[in-house]
């Protein structure tokens, strides 16, 4: 299968801290990649670079075979790389429908970039997007702060699906979630594969990603220390890598 993302020799420094050391990585299309590593391993740094939030100090990124240099998250989003950050990328007080369309509102009577929102269309499309990820909520007008943690991640995934992302990066999406809620999120992610979406699932909890991952990548101290297909490894081997670096 072809690679959708290829990174070569990425380096990133934060005022003295060498957070990413010569990292190279290939990600196959339509797979679920588990990116694991202890806190501080550099996982978030890597995905911030892939999503355009940060720029690498050196190294190259190829997306679908073309060399890319993202100056902002918007540029990455336009190519179809959507990121679900460690902190929620939802506005708690705003409705589900408005959250799904933040920055990409459907508008009419436009003057330049500005226009009136097509509220009804946005509500209907929001409901449809939620149903597509098997999330059944009462109303698209419910404020997000009335949803549970798992439901919120579902809304974010629905948003990424609606805008036809090709790659979905999830940074610790199961942090602070109960077991039941975690399973819900894992089901959302598992469902993405059949819809032609590649996902990169970041966690420091191996047991969350192992059941759904096709490929596992272990990081420690800013370096990639293992990069394995699931069929070539075991949970014990990976645990050993995680604990002993």
């Amino acid at each position: 299968m072809e690679d959708i993302i290829v990174c070569e020799g990425l380096n990133k420094y934060y005022s003295g801290v060498h957070a990413l050391k010569d990292l190279s990585l290939k990600i196959k299309k339509d797979s679920v990649v588990g990116l694991i590593g202890d806190n501080g391993a550099g996982k978030s740094t890597l995905i911030k670079i892939l999503s355009g939030a940060h720029q690498p100090d050196s190294g190259h990124i190829y997306f679908e075979g073309n060399k890319v240099k993202f100056k902002s998250t918007k540029e990455a989003m336009n190519l179809g790389i959507e990121t679900i950050y460690q902190y929620s990328a939802l506005i708690p007080e705003m409705s589900i429908a408005r959250n799904i369309f933040i920055g990409r509102e459907q508008t009419q009577y436009n003057v330049g970039n500005f226009g009136l929102m097509k509220t009804k269309t946005m509500q209907d499309d929001a409901m449809k997007a939620l149903t597509d990820v098997e999330l059944h909520l009462r109303s698209p007008d419910t404020p997000v702060n009335q949803l549970s943690g798992g439901e919120r991640q579902g809304v974010v995934i629905a948003r990424a699906m609606y805008f036809k992302s090709k790659v979905l990066i999830l940074d610790e999406p199961t942090n602070h979630l109960s077991v039941k809620e975690t399973n819900k999120v894992l089901r959302f992610v598992e469902g993405l594969k059949s819809q032609g979406v590649t996902s990169i699932f970041i966690t420091h909890n191996l047991s969350h990603v192992y059941p759904i991952a096709d490929h596992l990548c272990v990081m420690a101290r800013g370096e990639k220390i293992a990069d394995l297909d699931k069929k070539d490894t075991t949970i014990d081997h990976l645990t050993d890598l995680l604990v002993n670096g």
Partner: protein, 326 residues
């Protein structure tokens, strides 16, 4: 069941609570003195209210975006003072009005620039501007308040119709246009998102700095425009005009359900908040209570409104947390 749910969700909307508070206060003062609601008193109160409504709308939108402006009271004096002085210098009235309103826009821009460029709290940047703009007004007064030049087209803005002044229609126009902008346009969505969670908003590609800058400029413009209307109504440019208005407009916004932390509020709430304050003032005077009680009443209203809104938002969050436990 679902009907019940929607009634409940309506009641927990802060601006609806403000509206109920408004009705209660109106009825209360009406019982205390029937003349409170006769045409004469409504004409008096609604004659002065439009200026406060316009400033409160600007403040509310800026607060929803997550910032403050303490300089509105000073801009409220500076803009009309410069318009009057420019007309005295021989500048054509409409051009003077244009230049004067530009000053409001520039002050808003400077407030935004200092806040965003240097990453300091807008509370401090605009506190500085409060003093600077007031000082400039006094300098522009040149010692003694100048007479009002009657070639200014003030009737267009403040003409007294049967019951209401033209200024009320201007305020309603501002409310409708900005209400549509805030609640129906994509810009409004960006404003709520920016004030609700700036990190999340910018990760979704919203240029939060530009959104805030727009709100600062809008607020400065509206403060100047409202100040011009007041001077046109009084036909006297006073350097002290708008003294303490910054706090009163924040009070109006907060009573109307705007959150101090950004992300929550409506134009309707700010309008009701501003009207409520003016009727509270009038009601206290008409009930023959010592007028000094106005401030105590206003203070209590602010506290009640904020306590109530905090209570509702905690409840809303708890719904989500309880669900997670199911």
């Amino acid at each position: 069941m679902s009907k019940n749910y929607s009634l409940r969700s309506l009641l927990v909307r802060p601006e609806v609570a403000t509206f109920l508070m408004f009705l209660a206060i109106m009825i209360g003062f009406y019982i205390a003195n029937e003349r409170f609601l006769d045409a004469r008193n409504i004409r008096i109160v609604m004659g002065i209210t439009p200026e406060y409504i316009i400033v409160a709308i600007g403040i509310a939108i800026l607060m929803i975006s997550g910032e403050f402006d303490l300089s509105v009271g000073s801009v409220f004096a500076l803009v009309p003072m410069t318009i009057v002085q420019m007309v005295h210098q021989g500048i054509p009235p409409w051009f003077a009005i244009f230049l004067g309103l530009m000053i409001g826009i520039i002050v808003g821009f400077v407030n935004g620039f200092i806040t965003l460029r240097f990453g300091i709290p807008s509370f401090i940047a605009t506190l500085g501007m409060l003093y600077i703009a007031r000082s400039l007004t006094t300098v522009a007064t040149a010692g003694f308040p100048p007479p009002f030049p009657h070639i200014l087209p003030n009737e267009l803005f403040v003409y007294q119709f049967e019951l209401f002044r033209a200024s009320l229609y201007w305020a309603l126009l501002v409310a409708v246009v900005l209400g549509v902008m805030l609640h129906r346009s994509n810009v409004g969505n960006w404003i709520y998102a920016t004030g609700g969670d700036q990190n999340a908003a910018s990760s979704m590609g919203i240029k939060t700095g530009n959104v805030k800058m727009f709100c600062f400029i809008l607020c400065g413009f509206l403060a100047g425009f409202a100040g011009m209307i007041q001077t046109f109504r009084l036909e006297a440019p006073l350097p002290s005009q708008g003294y303490l208005l910054e706090l009163e407009s924040i009070a109006a916004a907060v009573i109307g359900g705007v959150s101090l932390f950004g992300g929550i509020g409506t134009v309707f709430g700010a309008v009701i908040g501003a009207i409520l304050i003016r009727f509270l003032e009038s009601g206290i005077i008409m009930a023959r209570i010592d007028a000094e009680w106005f401030r105590a009443g206003l203070g209590s209203l602010i506290i009640i409104a904020v306590v109530f809104n905090t209570y509702i938002s905690r409840r809303a969050t708890r719904i989500g947390q309880n669900k997670a436990k199911d």
